[in-house]
Symmetry: C2
Subunit: 199 residues, 2 copies
């Protein structure tokens, strides 16, 4: 690598700090940027800074926003009685893409993980409880992942909320749509069998 | 994608213009940049602009440089009698990494490719001939690729230089080191057989 001029080496080094980008890929990207129109490089460079300057955390749901309150929280058409609890902003985006939820969100910004030293005070659980106490929320959909940590977090929230007069639901887990039974892992299949529903 | 704030969408769009980066990867990179320290994002953004501002073409070899004449061309320790002709700056870097060549380079900035409308005047052949006429070059190593276009370009240069009193050599092609004969393609194997050398 040491045979490129310093400014190319510098970009290669910075690009290879990104996840999933090795030195070879960084070299290829740097060469592409070198050959591409100046405007494209300026746009890319500018949008990185703009992201850092503009994006903040929504003061209601703790999701990503470029305003104090995000578009979803400030949208009067969203059902204020439904609150979907997710781990990360990307989870919210995944649910939004499906178009199947018309309420609001609460982003925990993590999951309970005693192994990594993440306890209830390290994620936005206190803020969630305070929202449930203050806002007129009828149903809380627990949409944390179905990982060990996600399930533990959901269980913890059930425990916290059992005295609140709010309906608690958990997103269904089971066989993915289009999934072939023989390729589904045993734990998922067992779960799907246990939570079978009457048709 | 439309569920992220505009400044995230903007970065995702710019990142996904890079080669080999799809929308999913761009989303993952944008989220990483969002979470990473401000300094890292500024460095990445800055190094993209710096690349565009500083990198120019070396006036001697037509390789990449951040000065008028690149480090290799201006290095008095390099053998000025040896000139290695390559297609692209990355080819020069590949040879430099091996440490097996101590002369200078000439970067053609392309290969002859009649199919793509690239003729002798579209790449730096005129400049190569003028260097060979002016500089005291004893050997020209033709190190274009062993593709159809690379071989055609090498043949064209042999034709151009046949009246010059300069030694012309071509990098060897054959079985890659560590290559298993039974997995080598027939054309390479045939070439390796034809150009076998006495030991």
């Amino acid at each position: 690598m040491a045979h490129y001029p310093p400014s190319i080496l510098n970009l290669i080094r910075n690009l290879s700090r990104l996840p999933g980008i090795g030195e070879k890929t960084a070299e290829r990207l740097a060469m592409h940027i070198l050959r591409s129109p100046r405007k494209d490089a300026e746009n890319l460079s500018g949008s990185i800074l703009e992201l850092k300057n503009k994006i903040r955390i929504c003061s209601m749901c703790f999701g990503l926003s470029d305003k104090d309150v995000c578009d979803i929280c400030s949208d009067p058409k969203r059902d204020a009685g439904m609150l979907c609890v997710v781990e990360q902003p990307a989870d919210m985006v995944a649910i939004e893409k499906t178009g199947s939820f018309k309420g609001r969100y609460h982003i925990l910004q993590g999951v309970l993980s005693p192994m990594d030293g993440v306890g209830p005070n390290d994620i936005r659980i206190r803020e969630l409880l305070s929202r449930i106490a203050k806002e007129s929320i009828e149903e809380v959909v627990l949409a944390t992942s179905t990982t060990v940590e996600g399930e533990a977090t959901a269980s913890y929230l059930v425990e916290c909320l059992k005295t609140h007069p709010v309906k608690l639901t958990r997103i269904a887990s089971g066989i993915p749509v289009g999934g072939d039974l023989k390729y589904v892992d045993a734990v998922t299949l067992q779960k799907a069998m246990e939570t079978r529903r009457v048709i």
